[in-house]
Symmetry: C2
Subunit: 376 residues, 2 copies
């Protein structure tokens, strides 16, 4: 048997240009099973702690571990419980303890193998152990590959709300293994796809049109999936580069998220009723319909957005949420909780058409309430 010391042949590489904090996103199949030589080449002498959740461990820990071992790399592994509840102070403390018990030093790296939950938690741990260690994102959900693993936002939840504690801490490398998505539950794949469609709806009408034609290939895997992930990462990397700390244009990434977060809050973040991507899908449709109401967007463009998400099998109306979403006042209360209100006005991402979103920071709450009352 001959060892393969050659460079890992990723199908696509996206460079996140952030000066000394810049890094590469490699995108393609087989990146998990081929990680060892790539890590050995990029981080000579480093040791690793792989952090993952039980479900992902069942599918992907063994191949990753074998690849590190084959490349002569030392690692230990830490396995957490799957699910949003692991983004807690308690699990944070446990993972910190695990990393320190593994006697990792400042030059060593953590590897976040999993979805956004693992990525957000491990990124935060990496950001604070010894005041900052390097880490590698190995996202295994579509959402994590196109969104959460890129951009350096890390964090955990508190009883006061989601993601309220964390740091900006960029990874040193992202390995987005598009083949790893084959084991993902269809519902989780669809939810992640909402964020893919979002990049088209924000400012890339050509990408949206391509998705309308090619979405079945994206779901099937292969070249179209690689292209969809790469285009999404490139879009996110661009926004991150011009607004790393989210003080300006990065807000565009929140298209569909103001309504979406309100729906998630009202359903108690109960994934059996509504997962994040589903909430975003409904939120994007609402953002388009509201833009039509404001005479900003044509009804045809709003219909196109809705039709595509519906074709995927994503929910497009609050009425589709099992158990309902309460009253318009409930939704407004949730929106006010989520957003800072400036002199009585709300900030929303609205749109002038497919791929023509913009930040509107003077939306009157009354108009939103009246609109929502008709949607539920």
């Amino acid at each position: 048997m001959t060892r393969e010391p050659a460079r890992l042949a990723a199908a696509e590489t996206v460079a996140v240009e952030l000066g000394e904090r810049g890094y590469d996103i490699l995108i393609g199949p087989g990146l998990i099973a081929g990680a060892g030589p790539e890590l050995a080449r990029r981080f000579p002498g480093a040791r690793y702690a792989i952090v993952t959740d039980e479900t992902v461990a069942g599918h992907h820990l063994e191949p990753l571990a074998a690849s590190l071992t084959d490349a002569g790399l030392a690692y230990s592994s830490i396995v957490i419980t799957p699910g949003e509840a692991s983004k807690s102070f308690e699990v944070f403390g446990d993972v910190v303890d695990g990393v320190l018990s593994a006697r990792l030093e400042r030059g060593d790296l953590l590897i976040a193998l999993g979805g956004g939950v693992v990525g957000d938690l491990v990124g935060f741990v990496a950001g604070v152990v010894r005041r900052g260690m390097r880490f590698v994102q190995v996202p295994t959900t579509l959402l994590a590959q196109v969104d959460s693993s890129v951009g350096g936002k890390t964090g955990i939840n508190t009883r006061h709300g989601k993601n309220l504690v964390g740091v900006f801490h960029q990874p040193s490398l992202v390995l987005a293994d598009t083949g790893a998505l084959d084991t993902l539950a269809p519902r989780d794949f669809r939810a992640g796809y909402a964020e893919v469609a979002k990049y088209g709806l924000i400012d890339d009408p050509a990408f949206f049109a391509w998705l309308e034609t090619h979405w079945q290939e994206v779901f099937a895997g292969g070249a179209a999936r690689i292209q969809a992930v790469a285009t999404s990462c490139r879009a996110k990397a661009h926004v991150v580069r011009i607004d790393e700390k989210e003080t300006g244009p990065r807000a565009l990434l929140n298209l569909g998220h103001t309504f979406g977060h309100a729906l998630e809050a009202i359903t108690g973040y109960d994934g059996s009723r509504l997962v994040h991507g589903e909430a975003v899908s409904i939120g994007m449709v609402l953002a388009h319909d509201f833009s039509v109401r404001m005479n900003l967007c044509s009804p045809d463009d709003a219909a196109r957005a809705r039709a595509h998400l519906e074709a995927i099998g994503l929910p497009v109306s609050p009425r589709q949420v099992p158990g309902g979403v309460g009253t318009a006042d409930d939704l407004m209360a949730a929106i006010f909780q989520d957003k800072k209100v400036k002199r009585g006005r709300l900030t929303f991402i609205l749109t002038r058409g497919i791929g023509q979103s913009f930040i509107a920071d003077d939306v009157a709450p009354d108009v939103v309430r009246a609109f929502l009352a008709e949607q539920i």
Copy 2:
């Protein structure tokens, strides 16, 4: 009664030049009782959460709170248990929760009112709540005024060691009220003074000579104390500016600390036996004596360093530590725990004389062990 809207007349201002992360250190008496107008001027519209410990609250919370109220500033306060044990995951979680309960937002500020424990903990909380809030250091121990409040190192302890979890997060302002030190226990004042003397011993022989003549005035308060604090802050600010993330020359600040940390570890961080500044005092004397042994430093200069610390009332030998410090092997084991060893060699801060310290990264462990065996 007339309100005083004028600028706070600090006796000294030291600017920490770190670009957009730069800030001022104001040094002088009355800064706590005069904080309100200064904060109102610098941070228009902000609200505050004051975090302090019970002991400091007893002396200084009321004047600070009254000053904020007089200036029309809204604040809430969070009081923790005094002592090193509060630099824990648990108290960290509690303070985060308190800050979020106070409904502070990203533009608002935390105020760390207390010694290094409060400063390190609150700095870390500020660094992670909403991925970074601004904070003001109001150091009330001499150690905190000349060392821990400047430079942005924040953090908490874990069962694996001290300060292993934290972030670099610079304050937005430091108010070093030299009058607040009047309520400090004499032993804590002396311990902080070891770090003042350290700045002279590192690279400022004129400052050391000045301290030899003026130390009694520094202890008494007034202009000499302001000058000692300001000179120390200027020295630390300079090192922080050229090496913010501690990858190079900032290591000079560890003069006396390799031996000192070993002594603290061996005495189980039991402040009744040895506090940090006392350990540093012994450590600095050992660093000088060891430098004499290596033919780097003259015996006269080492004697001067020892004599000054002894005059202050600080311990200068491991033999003075109540309960003893174990064997030379115990000390070496503690040193190896604390330091990274490069190819069997240790890094120490050694010296060629008063104010002539340097980083030596090739010290042979055997030579250190033989030296220590004679000192205990």
